[in-house]
Symmetry: C2
Subunit: 377 residues, 2 copies
């Protein structure tokens, strides 16, 4: 293998692939990055076994200034290789293999790094025959950001660390729950080129990394197999393993009626919760109280040691039965951030039953956050 | 105590004082901030026993919007108080004492926080009678930034964690050494209003915090007592305890002649050392080699496991005897950063003796970095 390339252009690809590489892997060769050169392109691959990312630089892309002198491949220590490339002195660099050693030269600087044979690097899954569907990157970003917040981060019930992702014709339903809260987003796909029915569980960690790569993308081609989801972003392909098992039935958890309603701007409520959380975070049980009475709503928090806070909420509407309810402010904060600066409706039935947060005026539960209160008496 | 004040203006003062406050203090009340209100001003004080910072907000300062309704004082948990003030909803806030509880209101939000009596807060040292000297803040910044790098961070020889700060008439000599390297900066003070002779050891940590507060300042009044240095920055006063003991004699450590010289741009050499350090950091002894031969200089680094790097330096001049010398790249990086984008001269006598870095063409050692090489054979 022997090539030269524009350094800044190469660094962009290197950064994309590096998202999949972890130094805390149990498979030593996965701390390496795989570099391959064919007659027409350079391919970089990174993987942590759960997620793999592969990106291609074509010799037809003139900004990359890729000149291929000899085909071949190697794997090199990823962090180290990346640090070297970022600190090289010239605008381009050259990489030439001498056995399993890579000689990297740029300006007056020349590095020699020990690599490992690409034969030892795991193969990426084959997905050629999978059903595929093109979706809008903006819609996929929306689905991801509104649901990954309620996925569990604990491995005690692995299935709950995933996002339940259901495709029915041109509609996607995405649900997560960690058993304390639930997020649901249903979207009718725009411009979908195929009708696909599928029911998979994508690790929330994979969706989080994928979400960060979607910025600036137009459309994404999704391919689903029995145990892999593949997302095609032009010259970059994102692979995620799927979680095995049955996701719990969640529809029955969503209340169908309410007896108390609060309508408020999401950011206004978020600010008040941020302040109340300053005190609740100092107390043992980390809860804040919301009291709705006589068409006013008051949020309060306290810590025995430090003090207390009370705030009358600037609500658009407080209706229904009087209610005093306690909840984990961190869960409600995560849920509210999803709505940005929109008006939201909080619907309650009792201080023991889950309450929901939805966009004001929408009753179809297509965009829903559900939170279980904390019993404090 | 009862006052109201502009929140953003108060936050600036709070941030200044917070520099002195640490949550890891052995004196519990020092995790608090002291707030006092007299007829004409509000005073904030923070301290970690070594450093104390006091700042005043005058009621004559209209941007502060300070309205004093009742004099008094309290100490409140610093981090917590600071977080509350930063998250309050309105442009101003009001603070009113009820015994040892502070009621803070802003917009619809009201906090009550438990405080402690100011009687339990340590007194600041008295420095009224001390000799004082006004110096340029820019010159003080220069002295601090060029010398704190070589102060020791280890408590095994406490005296070496200080900066040896000597005033002789209108000249300041500042020296640090951790026994592996040495920094020296000698400055003739501009616009000094007095002639002061003093010889003190200021903790490098104090100088580091002070340095960060000097930006935007014009002049600083220094007052020195037997065990305190006080720096007056207008409405803010910075107190540092002094280190006790005799600083080692350092003049004799500075070589008076050289047999090999290298002249190079500081940033050019820094870039090459950054690259060589990528490899040296992966090896056990963290050294890089500089080889000067036939009027060329080559920098190299290696790690048995990962590989090696070699780079011909783009030097302005390489003169004198051939020499191969090894050093800790981190020490040389710290030293080079001080010179920004200037030409520097490195002067060597042998690969066992300390070498110096000075601005090219200057022979007075007023701005000097000295580094002891590492023996590798």
């Amino acid at each position: 293998m022997h090539f030269s390339i524009n350094r800044q252009n190469f660094i962009k690809s290197l950064n994309a692939v590096s998202r999949a590489i972890s130094s805390r892997t149990t498979i030593p060769i996965l701390t390496n990055i795989k570099i391959e050169v064919s007659d027409t392109q350079l391919t970089l691959t990174g993987s942590n076994a759960d997620i793999s990312i592969q990106t291609r630089i074509l010799d037809s892309d003139t900004t990359a200034e890729l000149i291929i002198k000899e085909t071949g491949g190697i794997t090199l220590p990823a962090t180290f290789f990346s640090n070297i490339i970022k600190r090289l002195p010239a605008d381009t660099f050259e990489l030439k293999l001498e056995g399993l050693r890579a000689a990297i030269t740029s300006g007056a600087s020349s590095f020699t790094i020990n690599g490992q044979d690409i034969q030892n690097y795991p193969q990426l899954p084959e997905v050629e025959d999978a059903e595929s569907l093109s979706v809008s990157a903006a819609q996929l970003t929306d689905i991801i950001s509104q649901t990954i917040i309620s996925a569990s981060t604990q491995e005690s019930r692995p299935i709950l660390t995933g996002v339940h992702f259901q495709l029915t014709g041109d509609s996607v339903k995405s649900v997560t729950t960690d058993s304390h809260r639930l997020s649901q987003r249903i979207v009718t796909l725009t411009g979908a080129d195929a009708q696909v029915n599928a029911d998979v569980i994508v690790p929330a960690k994979s969706f989080k990394e994928l979400g960060a790569m979607l910025e600036g993308q137009d459309r994404v081609v999704i391919k689903l197999t029995a145990n892999q989801a593949v997302f095609d972003l032009g010259n970059t392909t994102f692979y995620s393993r799927l979680l095995e098992g049955n996701y719990p039935e969640t529809d029955r958890l969503i209340p169908t009626e309410s007896t108390t309603e609060l309508m408020i701007n999401a950011m206004t409520l978020l600010g008040a919760i941020d302040r109340a959380a300053l005190l609740s975070h100092e107390s043992r049980n980390n809860v804040v109280q919301l009291t709705m009475k006589d068409n006013t709503a008051v949020l309060s928090g306290m810590s025995q040691e430090i003090g207390q806070v009370k705030e009358a909420l600037d609500a658009k509407k407080v209706e229904g039965d009087d209610l005093e309810i306690s909840f984990n402010p961190d869960y409600v904060r995560d849920a509210l951030r999803v709505f940005h600066d929109k008006e939201v409706e909080l619907q309650f039935t009792s201080n023991l039953r889950p309450f929901t947060i939805t966009p004001a005026g929408e009753t179809d539960n297509k965009q829903l956050q559900l939170i279980t209160p904390v019993r404090t008496f």
